[in-house]
């Protein structure tokens, strides 16, 4: 079989009909050239997935998984059923009088909580989109310089986009921990000046006239002086 180059992307996306997928797979397992290309394709697809805004699922999801595993342990010989994805109401249970009222109230609360959760997710998603648009606008400029911002141990904190007019856009990998904020500082011979306090991982500062920019982690609202320095960027 020739290298099935034209089918590898579809194979990687699991978009081939079963018989074609089996033929490609048989070839790939014995062909180092196609294995290498498939690794490249897989890595690009993983990057596409991980470019989406991570969304924390409700805690009940893990509890349901644990409950399902527990059921499987209790009946190990039984063929595992398709995982029920949400508790299913028992049909025709002899519920006591009043239970229906309670169930309805709980239902209303659940619907309300679900709507509130959706609203918050939507807000978070819109915030991420706004940041995305801001970063995209900066990247679209021909005169932007992108620099890595690293911690003292070399770990990558994020990037800083610099414009010739002195503006800088911090684009950090993670938002600050709960209850904390990032604070950016400008350094001159006279000392440090606070530039901005941000609870978001993307924020802009005016860094004109400073020899270096610093980043620290502070309590919400910021600090008069850095308490937890994170990284430094020479201009």
């Amino acid at each position: 079989m020739k290298h099935p180059k034209s089918q590898l992307a579809e194979y990687a996306m699991r978009a081939l009909p079963p018989d074609e997928a089996r033929a490609v797979e048989a070839h790939v397992l014995s062909c180092e050239v196609c294995q290498a290309e498939l690794r490249q394709l897989d890595a690009a697809l993983v990057a596409l997935v991980e470019s989406l805004p991570p969304v924390t699922p409700p805690a009940a999801c893990w509890e349901r998984i644990e409950a399902q595993l527990e059921r499987q342990r209790a009946a190990p010989s039984a063929e595992p059923e398709p995982a029920p994805s949400a508790p299913r109401p028992g049909a025709g249970w002899p519920w006591p009088r009043g239970a229906w009222v309670l169930a309805a109230a709980i239902g209303v609360l659940l619907v309300g909580a679900s709507l509130l959760w959706c609203y918050r997710q939507q807000q978070a998603y819109q915030q991420l989109e706004r940041e995305q648009q801001l970063v995209a606008a900066w990247l679209a400029r021909g005169d932007v310089e992108t620099r890595l911002l690293q911690a003292r141990d070399g770990a990558l904190l994020g990037r800083v986009l610099l414009l010739p007019d002195g503006r800088a856009l911090f684009v950090l990998r993670e938002p600050p921990a709960a209850g904390r904020a990032y604070q950016a500082w400008g350094h001159t011979g006279d000392g440090l000046a606070s530039l901005v306090v941000s609870e978001r991982p993307v924020f802009e500062v005016l860094g004109r006239g400073f020899e270096a920019l610093y980043l620290s982690l502070e309590p919400k609202g910021g600090s008069p002086q850095p308490t937890t320095p994170l990284g430094r960027l020479e201009r």
Binding site: R39, Q40, P57
Partner: protein, 173 residues
């Protein structure tokens, strides 16, 4: 994955802690329904637990394996929608809806992936995302865009390979 193949539930919990928000985000992006995305998340990790023994490193990384399970779970739900009446706004295959670009997330990834996607030809990036997230087949994309099927296939493959090259360059400090 080796621990998981020996039914180590602690390994499953660790993987869940690391990847649940990614799997959930993928399912939400594809299905746009929190309820169905929760189902996909749960079913993905239960399948992972049961089928970890079938993982073969030659076929891809563990993350690719997990995301593939999740994507397949989401695809089966998307395809079920197609064979039963659905509300118009659920039909991501409505031909009069423009293909949508994916909002990119995590800040560093956003910069890196956005930079890489920007260097792709616009139609390549659009084809890639429509094929991966929205389950357009290559034939459907050919029909929508008027491009020959072979061209669609080669553009998507080229887009993926170029994306990987750009990402490798940008990830190198």
């Amino acid at each position: 994955m080796a621990r998981l193949a020996e039914s180590d539930e602690g390994a499953l919990a660790e993987l869940y802690a690391r990847l649940a928000s990614r799997v959930y985000a993928l399912a939400l992006r594809m299905l746009r329904s929190p309820e169905e995305a929760e189902e996909v998340l749960q079913d993905t990790f239960l399948k992972l637990y049961r089928h970890a023994g079938s993982y073969d490193a030659l076929k891809g990384s563990p993350r690719a394996f997990i995301y593939t399970i999740a994507r397949n779970e989401a695809l089966s739900r998307l395809r079920a929608r197609r064979v039963r009446p659905v509300k118009a706004h659920w039909d991501v295959h409505a031909p009069d809806e423009a293909l949508r670009a994916t909002p990119i997330g995590d800040p560093l990834d956003r910069v890196v992936v956005e930079g890489a996607l920007e260097r792709l030809e616009p139609d390549e990036a659009e084809l890639l995302q429509a094929a991966f997230f929205d389950d357009y087949t290559h034939a459907e994309l050919a029909e929508r865009t008027g491009l020959p099927l072979g061209t669609v296939k080669s553009r998507i493959r080229r887009a993926l390979l170029r994306l990987r090259v750009y990402l490798e360059r940008d990830e190198t400090p």
